[in-house]
């Protein structure tokens, strides 16, 4: 329940932050990579570092991660299939995989796992479409019902919590 409340808080604050729709959409899109791919992978450390270091919405990233985790579970069979095709049924890629498998560090990404590779490829391919989709959706939201929500009592209650202070540390500048 607390997690849901925090997610709601993140959503509300993200949508009404000072960040641009582009920053929020970038955070959501990066968060989708965390959610769609198996979390404990080296590439997700890179994605997390990008979320922290790049001037994107951290709350949006958390929101994207939370939303896309169940989607990842649902799409796992599809990811598995993509991974199988890429790793085992595409001879042209075999030299690439062999090279990567015998390189330092790269094998730590678990790229040679069908689900990991399939989900990573899928999330990277969908990154740009997600980015534009989320940017359009955030802009539409702010232009339509955003101001009314900002004036509501429950919005004030949410933003008044202590968690907001932590959030402000990572809010887009």
């Amino acid at each position: 329940m607390l997690t849901l409340v925090k997610l709601l808080q993140s959503l509300v604050k993200a949508l009404h932050s000072e960040g641009t729709p582009g920053q929020l959409a970038a955070g959501l899109a990066l968060g989708s990579i965390l959610g769609l791919t198996p979390l404990v992978s080296l590439h997700n450390a890179v994605v997390f570092a990008l979320i922290v270091m790049l001037n994107v919405s951290f709350a949006g990233a958390l929101l994207g991660w939370a939303v896309f985790v169940p989607v990842g579970f649902l799409l796992d069979p599809f990811f598995d299939h993509i991974g199988h095709v890429l790793l085992l049924h595409t001879p042209a890629l075999k030299p690439l995989w062999t090279t990567m498998y015998n390189m330092p560090v790269v094998p730590l990404t678990n790229f040679n796992n069908t689900v990991t590779l399939g989900s990573l490829v899928f999330s990277l391919v969908m990154f740009i479409p997600f980015f534009y989709l989320f940017r359009w959706a955030v802009a539409r939201y702010r232009a339509t019902i955003g101001e009314r929500v900002r004036q509501s009592k429950w919005y004030r209650a949410v933003t008044a919590s202590k968690l907001y202070n932590v959030y402000r540390l990572f809010k887009p500048e």
């Binding site: 270091m53 001037n55 990811f79 390189m103």
Partner: protein, 587 residues
């Protein structure tokens, strides 16, 4: 408004985050590694792998494992081995390639076959784990052997059910009965068609007239001669019928004799229903020791096939089941390459182990393992194991470098406590005591050649008190309990799909001789019972037919004799009167 790309002030928290990660690694790396090692080891072996402590010293490239226990995948309450301490000297750089290369491993205090308190086997899904699949294949292979069972331990022979429909004497008797009836009718008709009554009556009347006739009464004389001719003709017909009856009776008597033959065949058929156990010594060896021998071969096959699964030949990409996690495991594909490092390589292991660890003074030995790798084709050399000591010789070679895998293993252990053997067909247990055990195993592609033998001179026998007592079991017990030497040799040759098992022991002949004695009495009794059953079913059908044929023979013979006697008497009377009339009297 320009938007900056980087959030520089987040570097501080990120560094703190990394620092916290580093501290957590420092705190929990050993625990995480220990659990991972247990999980991976369990998946590989197919039985629980337990580690008491594990310490990683990356700075010096050392990993120390304390209190390693690997349960046996074949026996519930036994460990495959335990080790007091394993110290591995690992290469750190290959870890960046997610490869584990151990330059040297020192294993101290290895003990084999130690007991454990809980079942160490893990239920495995054959479709999801390599060990489960290999275990199933090895089990199926072992179950493919046809092992005969001795059923004489209780001195009983199984008597099959005698189906009257399968007895040949009964339908033969029914057929003969029908033939006898038919013959009786035919012969009765023949007798009736002789019409002897009118002929004899006519002759009698002629004789009466002839008594009053004179010698000059030629009409009467001629009539008498015609009557005699008629009598002769009638007698010829009787003779013809008699011949036919004789032939028919001969056939019927042959039929009766055939009933006896059919009954003998029924006896033979009934004897075939006796499920007599084999008396051949090789078969007895199979029945007694095949389960134990096959169990040894099954284990050797399991380990070699497991090694082949985890150390496959060739350089083709290989897909294994991915790591267990909440998300789908998927498949993890390995891409070995020549002149690269294998995914796992143990260059050298120095093994220090104890044999017979439960003895008062267990003996300490040393062994050496080299070239254990997950990618033999990449490493380019076979895996070798050797251990030798005055009483122990063991060696193994797993050559998966080329396309056709060649696995060989052999071990001879002398003066070691051999485990008791439960003889599956006999109500007794054999405790070989201390003796010599030998196992040789070679698998080249699909061709197997394996040998297992044990020798002991201090055999002890224990009778199964729960087994039912019988005279046969008592005799067998007296025979075997006096034997103190044991020599068992078992071998498997052929292909994995069509293996041939041979088992011989010095007990075979002794048991075979005793069984022959026991069987001689028991089999005779069983045969008597079966013959009585055949008699009970067949005799009611045979006896009436036999009596009917006898009666028919007596009856028809008597009737023919009577008729012939009447004809003879009438002819004799007529001829006598005729001679009397035609005699020339000299005044």
């Amino acid at each position: 408004m320009s938007v900056r790309i980087f959030r520089w002030r987040a570097i501080g928290p990120l560094l703190v985050f990394l620092g916290v990660g580093g501290v957590l690694w420092w705190l929990f790396a050993d625990r995480i590694a220990r659990r991972s090692a247990e999980k991976i080891g369990t998946a590989i072996v197919g039985a629980k792998v337990e580690i008491q402590s594990l310490h990683i010293d990356l700075a010096n490239g050392d990993v120390t494992i304390g209190g390693l226990t690997v349960a046996s995948p074949h026996e519930a309450l036994k460990n495959l081995f335990q080790a007091d301490e394993l110290v591995a000297d690992i290469d750190v750089l290959p870890l960046l390639e997610k490869k584990v290369v151990i330059d040297r491993l020192a294993a101290n205090g290895l003990r084999f076959g130690t007991p454990r308190e809980t079942d160490g086997r893990v239920p495995t899904d054959p479709s999801a784990s390599v060990s489960g699949r290999v275990m199933n294949e090895a089990r199926d292979w072992a179950q493919g052997f046809q092992v005969p069972a001795l059923q004489l331990a209780t001195g009983k022979i199984d008597v099959g059910t005698l189906d009257p429909r399968k007895l040949s004497a009964i339908p033969a008797a029914e057929a003969l009965s029908a033939r006898a009836d038919s013959s009786r009718k035919v012969w009765q008709t023949g007798l009736d068609s002789l019409r002897l009554g009118p002929t004899v009556d006519s002759a009698t009347a002629t004789l009466a007239r002839l008594k009053t006739a004179r010698a000059t009464d030629l009409g009467a004389l001629n009539e008498a001669r015609r009557a005699i001719d008629q009598l002769k003709q009638a007698r010829n017909r009787v003779t013809t019928l008699d011949r036919s009856v004789t032939g028919g009776m001969t056939a019927l008597r042959a039929g009766v004799a055939g009933l006896d033959s059919a009954k003998q065949r029924d006896y033979a058929f009934a004897r075939g229903l006796l499920k007599l156990p084999t008396l051949d010594a090789p078969e007895i060896g199979l029945a007694l020791f095949a389960p134990t021998a096959v169990s040894q071969f099954q284990r050797a096959l399991y380990w070699t096939q497991l090694a082949k699964a985890h150390m496959p030949p060739g350089l083709q990409p290989r897909a294994d089941v991915g790591p267990p996690r909440r998300r789908r495991s998927g498949s993890t594909v390995r891409f070995p390459r020549e002149q690269a490092l294998p995914g796992f390589l143990l260059r050298t292991a120095e093994l220090s182990f104890l044999l017979d660890p439960t003895a008062a003074q267990p003996k300490k030995y040393a062994g050496r393992l080299t070239g254990l790798t997950s990618d033999p084709a990449v490493y380019g050399r076979p895996t070798l194991f050797e251990a030798s000591a005055p009483a122990v010789t063991a060696g193994a070679m797993l050559d998966h470098v080329h396309a056709t895998a060649r696995d060989t293993a052999g071990a001879t252990v002398q003066d070691v406590k051999l485990p008791p053997i439960q003889l599956p067909s006999l109500p007794m247990t054999l405790d070989p005591g201390r003796g010599t055990a030998q196992l040789g195993f070679a698998l080249r592609g699909d061709t197997i050649r394996a040998r297992w033998s044990i020798r002991s001179t201090h055999v002890q026998w224990a009778r199964d008190s729960a087994a039912p007592r019988s005279t046969g079991a008592d005799l067998l017990w007296r025979t075997l309990s006096g034997i103190s030497d044991l020599q068992v040799d078992a071998g498997v040759t052929g292909t994995l799909s069509h293996p041939r098992l041979v088992v011989r022991s010095n007990l075979d002949e002794a048991i075979a001789a005793r069984l022959r004695t026991m069987l001689g009495e028991e089999a005779a009794g069983a045969e008597r019972r079966l013959r009585a059953e055949v008699d009970r079913q067949v005799d009611p059908a045979i006896a009436p037919v036999r009596a009917r044929v006898t009666t028919l023979q007596t009856d028809i013979t008597k009737r023919l004799a009577d008729q012939r006697a009447r004809l003879d008497q009438a002819q004799k009377d007529l001829e006598a009167r005729l001679r009397e009339l035609t005699r020339i009297r000299v005044p």
